[in-house]
Symmetry: C2
Subunit: 275 residues, 2 copies
């Protein structure tokens, strides 16, 4: 096997813009790394699609990222992590990690009463994966999942602080509150943008877990362990950060700039169906 | 040129399930016709995508429908009609019609004060096509367009009669009410499902135009004019109605059965990216 180039970039992908919250954490934790990001803005959302379709799309994206010679891949999307990680990690010859293991581990470490809530898309909650991973770590954990399908469109419409979002969130969270959870996993990369609404509705005593932070830590450990960390002194060949999407590159650049000021010089559109 | 088979089916497509409201009108107006329907449920919604992407998707679907030997095609999606009809009609050797001309014509015929409102997706309203078509018919018409991006997710969540939908609709419609429109085009195939909410908010004096009805009439006229109408006495070779989707066939069958009781025996899933 050819030796992997330590100076190669890390590939990160998501169904759209949500994965940029994971990119932000990677930039903070391991600022020396190069990143190639792909957002599948033509086919977003993934959360209402079948597992088969999400696996097919993830394979195309991994083939694309491999043309960029990435040394590792982060699936920065809960739905794709839930539906596709096990399958694609097996068939890919570089390390692939998702966001769910890190989020589940953090939640299990944080709970005091053993009752954890998980909110996410229909595909993520329907897969039951958070429950399986958390109960593998600690079998007596009780997990209550709740799909919140309107959160993504509400966030994308910018209604982050709005009476309609409050009303919808209050309906979604009521069944979790009734179960006295003390920890809530934000199991979709869009949801951290609703943190203040969720915080107010759940109260100060419930820990809100954002898997993006722990995923960046996991990536850092993985790269160190395998001797794949980039030498901070090595010259940067080309751009440090590259952004690709399947549609609407300009809209992506403007959204990305609000999350990652200064990092997004240009977004390139590619035809992902050709990979 | 080979003579077209009058007994061939009509192809109808949409980004998902919304186009079934057009199918329902075709079944009522020309019950002898055969129909092949395709719903792009893997890549729904179209309304937030670029025109380029919608054109590429429409071409793939037309290639698929032509493998079913259709004699004419109805684009039963406002976004695809707005972005792709002119391009694909030119390059296809059978007649292709959309829903916008019929809807625009009906609205121009219905208005008394010359002020028409149009609601639709961001792509449909952003294209300005309703305004262009209506002003070609009657240059002094004033058209006010309003994108309503949350209506599709609200309908798909089943919140047809809900205080949240009322609140969102009331925000979207307020700018149209201020312009004293007397006619409102429901420029997205999902919106007729919100008819009672829209009716209540706009009042009894505003005419609500659903382009599906007029599109079926236009198809009927086109088939007659070109000698393409199916002979009601001819034996049906195979099924009268066929339904295809790009994802989640069972979910589609159950939704379709609620709109077209008895018509949907089976829905087949195909890989549309291969066309």
């Amino acid at each position: 096997m050819m030796e992997t180039d330590k100076n190669a970039p890390v590939g990160v992908f998501d169904s759209g813009v949500g994965g940029l919250t994971v990119v932000r954490e990677i930039m903070r934790q391991i600022p020396e790394e190069r990143i190639v990001y792909f957002g599948d803005t033509a086919r977003v959302p993934y959360g209402s699609k079948s597992a088969d379709t999400v696996i097919r799309y993830s394979r195309q994206i991994i083939r694309f990222l491999q043309t960029k010679k990435v040394k590792a891949i982060v699936i920065a999307c809960n739905t794709a992590s839930a539906c596709a990680l096990d399958v694609v990690a097996e068939e890919t010859d570089i390390p692939v990690i998702g966001v769910i293991n890190a989020g589940a581990r953090t939640a299990v470490g944080a709970t005091r009463n053993g009752r954890i809530g998980v909110i996410g898309t229909e595909a993520t909650i329907g897969s039951g994966i958070y429950t399986r991973v958390m109960q593998r770590l600690r079998p007596d954990i009780q997990v209550a999942g709740k799909p919140c399908p309107l959160f993504v469109p509400l966030v994308e419409e910018g209604l982050l602080h709005d009476s309609v979002t409050d009303e919808i969130a209050s309906r979604y969270l009521s069944s979790l509150k009734e179960k006295y959870i003390d920890t809530l996993v934000l199991g979709c990369t869009h949801y951290p943008l609703l943190r203040s609404t969720l915080r107010r509705l759940m109260g100060e005593d419930v820990v809100l877990v954002n898997p993006a932070y722990e995923t960046a830590i996991e990536l850092k450990g993985l790269l160190q362990e395998r001797g794949l960390g980039r030498d901070p002194e090595a010259p940067l060949e080309g751009e440090q950060y590259q952004f690709y999407v399947s549609d609407l590159a300009e809209k992506f650049t403007s959204f990305a700039t609000s999350i990652l000021p200064g990092a997004v010089k240009e977004t390139r559109k590619i035809d992902i169906e050709n990979y």
